[in-house]
Subunit: 266 residues, 4 copies
């Protein structure tokens, strides 16, 4: 979904804190996010060691995830990306400010982190534990951190909040750049930012965004095979259902109608 | 169609005044416009209360529609959107001016409405009746209103006029931004704007635009299932026919064509 | 092809001088260029009257074509368009200059024509014969004319020259705009423009462009039905052949190999 | 792949030094790179003469390749392109500087070459041996050379390094342009550029990029027929495998599982 919406490309990675063990997190093997499959997901401890020794390549930058889960108990989902929309800001050193209500998802400000300040010349990859901890310190209690000449890392209280936050931050950055070209950037007030900052995580909103982004992903041919099979059996309308279906407790197979109802009652 | 042409995305909503009862309007349940289906359409009174108590989520911002239908008897179609093309203008506070003949569909000027002026810090969603009425007052007798740090609301005398107006306003905004980057923006004269302002609603023009945007929607896989079924039976050429078909003298309707007719009579 | 490459959209029209009668030209009925079919092509005299009274809507702006064919015996193909790439220049009044070798196809300069100068406030459509003649005078012996707040009209000695000229002019305008944003636009010298100006019409070049743009059109589902049927029978490689195939005299069915050879010998 | 990622279009060409004879190189017949097929590949000596007299059209600009292979024994892959992302820099004369870690693939600087300086007014095509040698001299020991008002030529130690370098240079140019619009362009330090400059050729990285770009190509319908056939037999997941499959020595058909393992061990 994040690949399809232009946040991720060949690079970047998405993780989740383990739903049953807050001392572990889930991250795929080293592979572009848009092509990973269920079997690619591996389990890591918070010091970013794989729980089971893998026979596959793993991401060099996984300390980004481990160090943030360690520092931020409230965070359950993390994405690190090089989205084209935020890169100009990471290069120009211009802060991204909330310029529309959904952009408030990023918070009032996103701090910059310059790897060079603490570690001198590197290849800019965040691979050492101390680099990961430094990045987590820069993130602090914010929703995202901009990495100079590199990209961004965005966190969320749950997966959907993080996903929509990352997408809205990109839209916000794009609109801000073009408003800048018109000569003036008016941002939300701190009060508006606070009030609007939670819209993206409201169930009435995530119901809409998740269904819409799922449909776009389905049309682009990007749904995982299992979901695609289901989707083909129920053309078009089906494209909106997988998200709800996945939330249904395992083993409790429901009729299509029931699944629909449960979605509405969210 | 508005989603496929880049006006709407996960958000925004489209309504129509009820064709038989000017005191009511039609709006879908809370869902991204690109995925709504016929069953999603609900009926509302002009004070934005659902005529039948719904068992589905409804849009929080429906007062935008009710208040405009109340204030503007000439309006029969409304879209509220956050199109990327207009957002920079809503952020920079720079007026959109007609820069090409089709852009004149927006009229000579579109007023700005800043929710903050009257309501202080909000989450920027237009949910209270008094917010809706304030927006309708700002719209006045114009064709559209720009909402600061939020988006735009566009109206039309009929559905097709509103759709093409919304699309052409986005094209106009995009061209204006890039002319601005070249250093100079020359707009139409008031006389030209008046004369060109009606082009987008001329039948010879809407025949062309409606057929073209329908074909693009069909190729993107976005036609509703019923229409898609018909389209598949007549590959390619089919996508282009509805518009022409509509010109065919009525009375030659047949079984399949009956369904078509109902669409035609809109 | 011009629609698929971003030159045309719902609007714009393409004509050819009649291959056997230079006093007539071929233009489709009033329909978006991307959806026209062979049966839509009508024949007009140079004063833009239909040779056979049509029972379909015809373009209001057909005088653009008739007046240019009248004034320019060397021209056998004309396109009028509102391409997003050239619109900012038509609005800012900044001349398009050749900034890369293929952009030289537009010539050293393209004059501006402002309908307002001679005809005052209009809806900017070119519908009267005197408006068409005024535009043709502004075009003079150039390859294209930029229409203020409206679009452009591009001509060619043959259809392929006109098509590639229109496409390269758009690429040139896009690159020029972005070089302008970098702060400096260096154009070709007059000598380079003259030497490079004919590249787009060289057979070795049109062979390549025509095959490539045809393949892109095929992948986008935009080939006419007859050609698509052929293309499906010969997957992928076939996508490049329709253009050549269409040139084969009707009734002279050739083997695939023969068709291939004939293309190479162009 | 380079066409699908926006580096090549109707024009540009890709060559490889002959794997068994460093005195020869492989280049397709004159055809858009996105449509070439295995049979189109021809063999040339380093003075750009075809080894076997061809009965097809060959690229006029092949001296670009021959002269670079002659001057640079370390180079085994060359692409010449007119990518939209680099064109504004070739027109404005503004150097591309590394603005993110992957952009360091281009090296600290890419020299400009202006054909006009040595050869006066030409049509800007590089066709004479002395033009090719002049370009190769300008390239020197760099990774790429920017050709004024024309395009760029990018080299690599192997095919994958060249492909990712060309793609990352385009991303870098795009980000740099937009950072420029924000008012400031901060580049990597020389030390960072050196350290990050090799990331794009690291096996852990090329595994990811090659799989991802292959999948995108597959979805766009651009894989060669043989590979497509295989891909269709193994939906979705398969899209990532052709690259690995192609590396498998001919005649050694392996099970799907085996193919997978071999990819991991890279």
């Amino acid at each position: 979904m994040l690949t399809n919406e232009g946040v991720l490309d060949a690079f970047g990675h998405v993780s989740m804190r383990h739903p049953h063990d807050p001392g572990r997190y889930l991250l795929s093997r080293s592979r572009s996010p848009g092509v990973i499959e269920p079997d690619d997901i591996l389990e890591f401890t918070l010091d970013s060691e794989p729980v089971v020794p893998p026979n596959v390549q793993i991401y060099a930058e996984r300390v980004i995830h481990g160090c943030i889960y360690e520092a931020r108990p409230d965070v359950t989902a993390v994405v690190h990306h090089h989205a084209p929309a935020v890169m100009p800001f990471c290069i120009a050193g211009i802060p991204i400010v909330p310029v529309f209500h959904l952009g408030a998802a990023g918070g009032e400000t996103q701090p910059f982190w310059n790897q060079r300040d603490e570690f001198g010349d590197t290849n800019l990859l965040v691979v050492k534990p101390e680099e990961g901890r430094s990045l987590a310190r820069a993130l602090g209690s914010h929703n995202a951190v901009l990495m100079v000449n590199h990209g961004a890392t965005v966190v969320g209280g749950d997966l959907r909040e993080m996903v929509s936050r990352a997408i809205f931050m990109c839209q916000n950055a794009d609109y801000q750049l073009r408003a800048h070209m018109l000569g003036k950037v008016a941002s939300l007030t701190p009060g508006e930012t606070k009030l609007a900052g939670v819209i993206n995580a409201m169930p009435t909103v995530t119901n809409r965004t998740w269904e819409y982004w799922t449909q776009r992903l389905a049309r682009a041919g990007g749904l995982p095979p299992a979901v695609t099979k289901t989707a083909k059996a129920r053309p078009r309308a089906a494209s909106a259902k997988p998200a709800a279906a996945r939330k249904t407790p395992a083993g409790k197979a429901k009729s299509q109608k029931a699944g629909r109802k449960s979605r509405r009652s969210r």
